[in-house]
């Protein structure tokens, strides 16, 4: 803390000195040189975390956890920084290019794999196979979760919190419409039909500025039908029969008026205001939906059952958000020690309900959600059937996923499907071409 305010103080004094001076930048450089970066043995290493939860509750708790870290002798302390979602890829790549990146960090779900490809990641194998194998954390991860982080060179990251695409229904509206609870695609459509009769959209979604959920959900339907975006070789392969069938199903919902025609350009705020207005009977979203709508609506929201697709199987998309370590850490031992500390002590982020996604560890899930039927249902019924972006070819995350997660081709694809003025095959072909050139 002291060093931060010192930097600030230097800077301010720099400005005063600057006022009339011509050689502005030289002077400032001289003034703040003391506050510069990198390379002294005892300097704290940097931990960056994204704002995963509620606006104040999450960062406060997270900061407290990091502040309580007491490094063993010889290991560096850790400084905490919260990174903003806006333009975060630019924030990370800029820092890496300038060599001012953190030592330990979370990021977007695919950030680690971008830097893994560039050889800048320190693999987590030692932490997982030595430290966590002996202290029980390794076995505490939800089934299959650790493997999603595995690349051919090692674990690029460790799972930190889970987000997934599933649907919530508004009990009150469903009752009012006399709709029965969906179990497969046909019954979902039937429920939509019933909801339409009372002027409510059955298929709530959003794909406007800053919203990627609409595209995620479409991929979730593909996976539900045994399809997905990537083949076994981790190459893009989207024009498949399963995908076409899935998209035709959504296009049918759009044509029948079960989807709000504005969904393609709704932001998350727009979609939640539609929930509050009672305009959406069901919504495809993440695990945290009730926290974003008003209390009345939240009390009516229930997690739906996974749907059985035409292929006879269940499936959905989930995002193992993760924490990773950079190679250029001033102290690799320090990074690993901190990572271990963090996983041993992060439980309160969930038990104190800070709004972060679902926990990666079974023990935390039990401690935090014993009294929460929705979260329990998500962990028990949705997580096991969910796959990563790698589906159907694999159930891992890898570099090529960075091309589909929140990128323009996916957004344009989602907007074209939700807009309804296309055929499934055309839209998928366009997507295939855009992703190939990307």
């Amino acid at each position: 803390m002291t060093s931060e305010s010192k930097v600030n103080g230097f800077t301010r004094r720099g400005f005063i000195g600057l006022a009339g001076a011509a050689a502005a930048s030289t002077l400032l450089a001289a003034c703040s040189a003391g506050g510069g970066s990198s390379s002294s043995g005892t300097k704290p290493i940097k931990f960056w975390n994204m704002p995963w939860g509620a606006p104040t509750a999450f960062p406060q708790e997270d900061k407290a956890i990091v502040a309580a870290y007491k490094p063993k002798s010889g290991l560096p302390a850790v400084s905490y920084q919260q990174i903003q979602w806006a333009n975060f890829t630019q924030t990370f790549t800029t820092a890496v290019a300038a060599n001012t990146n953190p030592s330990v960090s979370s990021g977007g779900g695919t950030t680690a794999f971008l830097f893994e490809k560039e050889g800048k990641i320190h693999y987590a194998d030692d932490v997982i196979n030595k430290v966590w194998a002996s202290n029980g954390i390794k076995d505490d991860f939800l089934p299959g979760l650790l493997d999603t982080m595995k690349t051919k060179n090692g674990y690029a990251a460790v799972p930190y919190n889970l987000d997934m695409r599933l649907y919530w229904y508004n009990k009150q509206l469903m009752d009012k419409a006399g709709a029965s609870l969906p179990t497969d695609w046909d019954s979902f459509e039937a429920a939509c039909k019933a909801l339409k009769k009372i002027g409510v959209f059955g298929y709530g979604t959003y794909s406007g500025a800053g919203a990627f959920t609409g595209g995620h959900t479409l991929v979730a339907h593909m996976i539900n039908n045994g399809g997905g975006l990537f083949d076994k070789d981790q190459n893009v392969n989207v024009v498949t029969d399963q995908n076409i069938q899935a998209m035709e199903w959504v296009l049918g919902l759009v044509k029948n008026g079960y989807v709000d025609p504005r969904s393609a350009t709704y932001t998350s705020a727009n979609a939640y205001s539609q929930m509050n207005a009672g305009a959406f009977g069901m919504i495809w979203d993440g695990a945290g939906t009730p926290a974003n709508v008003n209390a009345n609506v939240a009390s009516q929201l229930v997690v739906g059952d996974p749907l059985v697709g035409p292929s006879g199987q269940k499936g959905a998309l989930y995002f193992p958000n993760n924490i990773f370590m950079f190679k250029n850490s001033p102290s690799i031992a320090g990074s690993e020690a901190f990572l271990n500390y963090y996983y041993q002590n992060m439980k309160t982020l969930w038990t104190k309900k800070t709004g972060i996604g679902l926990p990666p560890l079974k023990s935390i899930a039990q401690a935090a959600y014993a009294d929460d039927p929705s979260a329990t249902k998500i962990i028990d019924t949705w997580q096991p059937i969910s796959k990563t972006w790698g589906a159907p070819g694999s159930n891992t995350v890898f570099y090529n996923v960075t091309k589909v997660d929140g990128t323009q081709p996916m957004i344009a694809f989602a907007q074209s499907i939700l807009g309804g003025n296309t055929t499934a095959k055309d839209a998928l072909t366009t997507l295939q071409k855009a992703l190939e050139s990307a």
Binding site: A24, A209, T265, Y266, Q415, G419
Partner: protein, 327 residues
Amino acid sequence: MTATNAVEGLKRARRGVGVAGRGPATPSPRGRQGRTTLGRSWGTLTAFALPSLILLVLLNLFPVIYAFLQSLQNGTPSTLPWEADFVGLQNYVTVLTSPQFWQAAEFTLVFTIVGVFGSWIVGLGLALLLRTRIPANTVFKVLLLLPWIVPIVVSSTAWNWLVATPQSPLPVLFSWFGLDNVNFLGDPLLAQILVCVFKVWISFPFMMMMMSAALASVDTNVYEAARVDGANSWQTFTGITLPMISRSTYIAWILMTIFCVNDFPTIFLLTQGGPVNATTTLIVLAYQYAFQNLQTGIGTAIAFIMTAVLVLISVVLYRQIKKVNIE
């Protein structure tokens, strides 16, 4: 030289037109300078100009070279320009042959033309209106500048609130007139119109200020003369006012052209280029390639092509201003 002299001179200068609108009215300053103190003080003058030049070069030279090298490579944003594979002009070929680029170029053109002339017309109209005797004139001047002052993160949110959902004010207003379900952000054409209107809304205060200043420098006597000659108001406006403010107008157009073409946040925050790329401009496309698709080479190539065209247009318009001045 005394203070009184200075004040007299300044009064003359302000009455005469040296500042904003009219070039040739003050020929005196520049004519005689060469062989005076000024001519011999090139050291001082260099020292005057140098800090700005150093600052601009320092801040721009390295980024330009860096970005240009990136445009010749197959890198990601985090690879340094001396780390990635060199691909020559391949990125430029890719860009120029991609339909996406041309679609974005087309909308950039529309966006810029509407942005420049829309904000100019609104700004000039309001500047003319605000010159007249109106109660609480100054209050309106400040209020009308608000769109320019409000942070773009906020105003884009406010505009989204205005149009996005069926319960938003504008769709409700339209449904009163029998136009139900107007989908401002979802319909490609309406989204394009909305983005352009949003840009005009943000930019007109700047134009209003420029045009107010230019109008203020027009000599009132000219209008009297025109009235004596029997010109009506429209004739006076097109025949006298417009030519008199033509130089300021050109400058305003050039600056606004630059502001429009380089405007990333306006579009990115309101529509993110959607629906289905309908409102993607070149700068947004460059950003998407560089920082979403992580194809920095293509992103920077787009930016360079765009900048080259922009510089070309600026230089042409710049020469135009010089011409206006000479006439």
